[in-house]
């Protein structure tokens, strides 16, 4: 493992990679700060830029963007009470009241330090957990991969919420359906191309991710008329320093929430949103007396807990991605798509075949946290000026970045029409609460799911007995059934409580 860390360190501290992680954090902070545009949109927007670099550098850039966007989302949550993404909703509970009390600088500093600590603790855990899991999963064959992919899809669906499970399920299936467009990898026959040569290679992952997240987000903001301008004022941020007493108050909350966040993040489908709410609830229930009453009115603990849990969960979600090739969230699904487009096979073999990528990403995630703290925090007063740009200027600019990002990869205008079409459909679906993340997860896993199912059938002479004869496959599928039952269990529990 020491060799691996050194390899990762050697990759991550190359001047070009340090520059990339810094640029990524900076760009991510700006994009993540714009309400509505979260880490997924930020990464999707910057994927075309990464094609100019080698895979390790590209992923390092994306990791920087990821952290930057998470931090940027917290900034808009604290300053404007406008959480960019669901993961920063809990940040507004105490972050915005702190800003209202005239302490926006302190709130931003607590968010940054808590994120840094959460990221640091999670990076250490990732460093320990990922290689161990990767070694175990080296024994995996097609049946295990098939089972894992089913687990990933079901988890994303099950964690979408009791009322949304059917919609999330449909979106996962829609993603799988879109993944079947193009030339069949096994037989080489055309599927759903309707005679169009543009569809022979299937639908571009980048196109789908940009249309489903960034483009639809902008169109939705225009549709609902939610304007950023007018809300943002260039007010003084105040001191960014914390007193010793405040550090003592916040530190235990950060430690607890980071551990909780990491383990929640490792679960496929759970992600940063659940982690941040769990971190907040845990801290509020632990707090006693006056400290508990302070929650919701500008408690530093109430701000630090969701921030550290959120960031730790973001790191935790990289464990299943890097070791098993299974994305647990929309963000990691976009990362997985990017990995595949760089020609890298995510999963246990990544650890052996591309140690530079595996360790480089892990180490650079930590460096991303450091960059965020020493570079972005002092620059926040300047970066936050982006929030004063009128939204009617930003909307066409973001649409242009989406279209240009897709066009500059394929130089095919058909892709632009398709992207606009998918963007409009995504707007309609999002209006009616159809989640986009399961679709992206389904799309990225679809090809691999089908290929591994067909390979498993070949291995077992066209018999489905691999589902119960292989212990690891059976264990994963049993876990899948349990997770699939979560929405039903929740419903039954709620009924029992009501009765």
């Amino acid at each position: 493992m020491i060799d691996g860390i050194l390899t990762g360190l050697e990759v991550a501290i190359r001047p070009v990679n340090l520059l990339l992680v810094s640029v990524g954090c900076f760009a991510g902070t700006i994009i993540g700060m714009l309400p509505g545009l979260g880490p997924v949109s930020a990464i999707a927007l910057l994927v075309p830029v990464t094609y100019a670099f080698d895979p390790a550098s590209a992923l390092i850039l994306l990791a920087g963007v990821y952290y930057g966007a998470v931090f940027g989302g917290s900034t808009s949550a604290i300053l404007l009470n406008a959480p960019g993404v669901a993961g920063t909703v809990a940040t507004t509970f105490d972050g915005y009241p702190l800003a209202q009390k005239g302490l926006p600088g302190k709130a931003l500093a607590v968010a940054a330090y808590a994120s840094f600590a959460g990221g640091t603790i999670a990076a250490v855990l990732l460093l320990l957990a990922a290689p161990a899991l990767a070694v175990v999963s080296l024994s995996f064959q097609s049946p295990e991969y098939f089972a894992l992919m089913v687990l990933g899809l079901i988890s994303v669906t099950a964690f979408a919420g009791e009322d949304n499970a059917a919609k999330a399920g449909f979106m996962a299936v829609l993603g799988l359906m879109l993944g079947t467009v193009g030339t069949d990898r096994t037989d080489g026959v055309m599927r759903f191309t309707y005679g169009r040569l543009d569809l022979l290679d299937g639908i571009s992952f980048l196109l789908l991710a940009m249309a489903a997240f960034a483009l639809s987000e902008v169109l939705l903001s225009v549709l609902s008329g939610h304007s950023v301008s007018g809300n943002a004022r260039r007010s003084a941020l105040g001191s960014l320093r914390l007193k010793r007493k405040e550090v003592k108050q916040v530190a235990p909350a950060v430690g607890r929430s980071s551990l909780l966040g990491f383990f929640v993040g490792v679960l496929p489908g759970a992600g940063a949103t659940i982690a941040s709410f769990m971190g907040y609830s845990m801290e509020r229930s632990i707090a006693k007396g006056e400290a508990q009453k302070e929650f919701g009115k500008g408690s530093l603990r109430g701000l630090a807990a969701p921030e550290s849990a959120n960031n730790a969960a973001s790191s935790g979600s990289f464990v299943p991605l890097l070791t098993l090739g299974v994305p647990g969230s929309g963000t990691t699904a976009v990362m997985l798509g990017a990995l595949i487009s760089y020609g890298i096979n995510p999963g246990p073999t990544l650890f052996v075949e591309r140690p530079d990528v595996f360790w480089g990403v892990i180490v650079s995630m930590y460096i991303g946290n450091v960059v965020l703290l020493i570079l972005n925090l002092p620059l926040i007063p300047y970066i936050s000026r982006v929030l004063t740009l009128p939204s009617n200027v930003l909307a066409p600019l973001i649409v242009f970045f989406c279209l240009a990002g897709v066009f500059l990869v394929s130089f095919n205008t058909f892709d632009l029409y398709m992207m606009i079409g998918i963007g409009v459909i995504a707007v309609v679906l999002r209006l009616y609460r159809y989640p986009m993340a399961p679709m992206i997860v389904g799309f990225t896993l679809g090809g691999l799911l089908e290929t591994n199912l067909r390979r498993s059938l070949v291995l077992y002479n066209d018999s489905f007995s691999f589902l119960w004869e292989r212990p690891i496959t059976l264990a994963i599928l049993s876990a899948t059934v349990l997770i699939a039952g979560i929405p039903l269990f929740r419903k039954a529990w709620r009924r029992a409580v009501v009765d």
Partner: protein
């Protein structure tokens, strides 16, 4: 109360899409040797059709039931659909003109038209936002990376 609202129409569209996908799956050409395999290029799409249709029916059922109990309605307000449709229209025109009149002119035109259409009239915002991005992209790609733009 009318049971048919946006929620149910979207669920019906999902169901119709699954039916269309399933029918298209039936017309996938198979190699003669593959006809007798347990799993062909059509099998996975058929499975997806069945699961997708089941999900759509479940959504439809919930939508009808929620409607009866005054369900949650739309996730976002729809106040400016004309502005949204206009921006989509401008994006389509931009896609059409991109390879015909060139990257810089079409991009600057799209950005200027989009910004003005959405209500911004202050030239100190409109001009830099419309002119600088295409120029920066052009300089970066043509001169920096040697990639020809239309």
């Amino acid at each position: 109360m009318n049971a048919w609202n946006g929620e149910t129409y979207v669920a019906l569209l999902c169901l119709a899409f699954c039916a269309f996908y399933g029918m298209s799956a039936g017309s996938i050409d198979l190699f003669s040797a593959a006809q007798h395999e347990v799993m062909t290029s059509r099998t996975f799409p058929y499975i997806l059709t069945a699961v997708g249709a089941a999900c759509s029916l479940s959504i439809l059922y919930s939508a009808l039931r929620e409607q009866a109990a005054s369900g949650p309605g739309r996730a976002h307000e729809v106040r400016h659909w004309r502005a949204c449709a206009g921006l989509v229209g401008l994006a389509l025109v931009y896609a059409f003109l991109l390879t015909r009149i060139g990257f810089i002119v079409s991009t600057a035109g799209f950005l200027a038209a989009g910004i003005v259409y959405l209500g911004e009239r202050r030239w100190r915002y409109v001009v830099p936002a419309a002119v600088l991005p295409p120029l920066i992209f052009w300089l970066l790609l043509e001169l920096g990376l040697d990639i020809s733009l239309p």
